[in-house]
């Protein structure tokens, strides 16, 4: 029953990022329902959205979408501040760092697939390093590197192909803000 309402100025950027982040979160939640043979082995479908955003709007928006996805996605599936959340965060930060470099690859020769594969390796690398440093302080975790690397390569390539295909259709995703955001908070 507060009388005063706080109006936050919402820009078109905010709407766009929120919309893409919502798509990424939905994919995260859908993916959480998939059975996984090993913790850490999952398709990472939300990264498709990150790749599309990176290609269309640049690294800053991609970082927003990726990190919003990690935080809100973990809230939705009840993993916030659980070990899985920190692993996902570490992976997302590493892959964003790699994407920051990968976006400067010559676009004539490198497409979203390259960015996706590199980001997937960075993702798994960040997770394994954090797991080694914190969760499993033993070199035994590195025995899993070949398995993780294999899945990173496979799913990175597939996600990259999907992202490339989405990017090949300019109007696949609505990008405009609603005309009159009344009552939006």
């Amino acid at each position: 029953m507060t009388r005063s309402t706080i109006e936050l100025p919402v820009t078109a950027d905010d709407y766009r990022i929120a919309r893409y982040a919502a798509a990424a979160i939905a994919l995260t939640v859908a993916e959480a329902a998939l059975p996984s043979p090993l913790p850490g082995i999952k398709p990472g479908l939300a990264n498709i959205i990150v790749l599309v955003v990176l290609a269309r709007y640049g690294w800053r928006d991609a970082a927003w979408v990726s990190l919003l996805r990690v935080v809100a996605g973990s809230l939705v599936i009840g993993q916030f501040l659980a070990p899985g959340f920190f692993l996902a965060l570490s992976g997302a930060l590493c892959s964003l760092a790699v994407l920051a470099l990968a976006q400067h690859l010559p676009p004539r020769f490198f497409g979203p697939v390259s960015a996706s594969v590199l980001a997937a390796f960075a993702h798994i690398g960040g997770q394994i390093l954090l797991a080694r440093a914190w969760l499993v302080p033993h070199d035994g975790v590195f025995y899993l590197v070949p398995l993780f690397a294999t899945t990173a390569l496979v799913f990175g390539a597939i996600n990259g192909l999907v992202a490339a295909r989405l990017l090949a259709m300019p109007a696949a995703i609505p990008v405009a803000a609603p005309a009159a955001p009344k009552g939006a908070s």
Binding site: A22, I49, A149, L153, R165
Partner: protein, 185 residues
């Protein structure tokens, strides 16, 4: 002031919305994603995205891969393939270390079959070595845990005969023994 626009084909909407000609045909002049109303926008992104991703053959998949992508996929595949032998090689052992009270009694190479007797705290423990593996053949201990453990094949595997203060441990090629910080009684 009614006039038609003769220089445009009849099916095409006119770009300038202020012109009266554009109002006659109902097709949107702007791209479809900009022309949507407020309602139902947020449900569209994921649904459309999935529909587009599943939609058959807009762009052939292989055209989405640029030369650099192929190169990177190949390099990543080679890297992943080499990571298997590199990281899983540590499993092979080449010598067995027999200790009593933490002191090394002997080191046995794992390339010839032989038996070795070590005098423990409560009797004689018999170690058997065969090419690539070693075991505690007999031990005077009451519960026979180290005997029942059977053959040890991997580096850093260890059988502990606690009552007789004897351990049998396998070591790998590296010569380092980092699997355990310390083994004490």
């Amino acid at each position: 002031m009614k006039h038609s626009v003769p220089d445009l084909p009849p099916g095409r909407p006119k770009a300038d919305p202020s012109s009266p000609g554009a109002g006659e045909d109902r097709e949107p002049a702007s791209p479809p994603f900009l022309d949507r109303g407020q309602g139902g926008m947020h449900t569209h992104s994921l649904r459309e995205l999935l529909a587009q991703a599943a939609g058959a053959g807009h762009v052939p998949w292989r055209t989405l891969l640029k030369p650099g992508d192929w190169l990177l996929l190949l390099a990543a595949g080679v890297l992943v393939a080499t990571s298997y032998p590199l990281l899983w090689r540590g499993g092979t052992a080449d010598r067995a270390i027999v200790k009593r009270d933490g002191q090394v009694v002997t080191e046995l190479a794992l390339n010839v079959a032989r038996k070795y007797e070590v005098t423990g705290a409560i009797g004689t423990t018999l170690i058997e070595v065969q090419p690539g593996r070693a075991r505690v053949l007999s031990d005077p201990g009451p519960r026979q845990y180290c005997v029942q453990q059977g053959w040890l094949t991997r580096a850093n595997a260890v059988a502990i005969c606690a009552p007789s203060h004897v351990t049998l441990q396998l070591a790998g090629r590296g010569g380092r023994n980092e699997a355990y910080d310390t083994l004490n009684y």
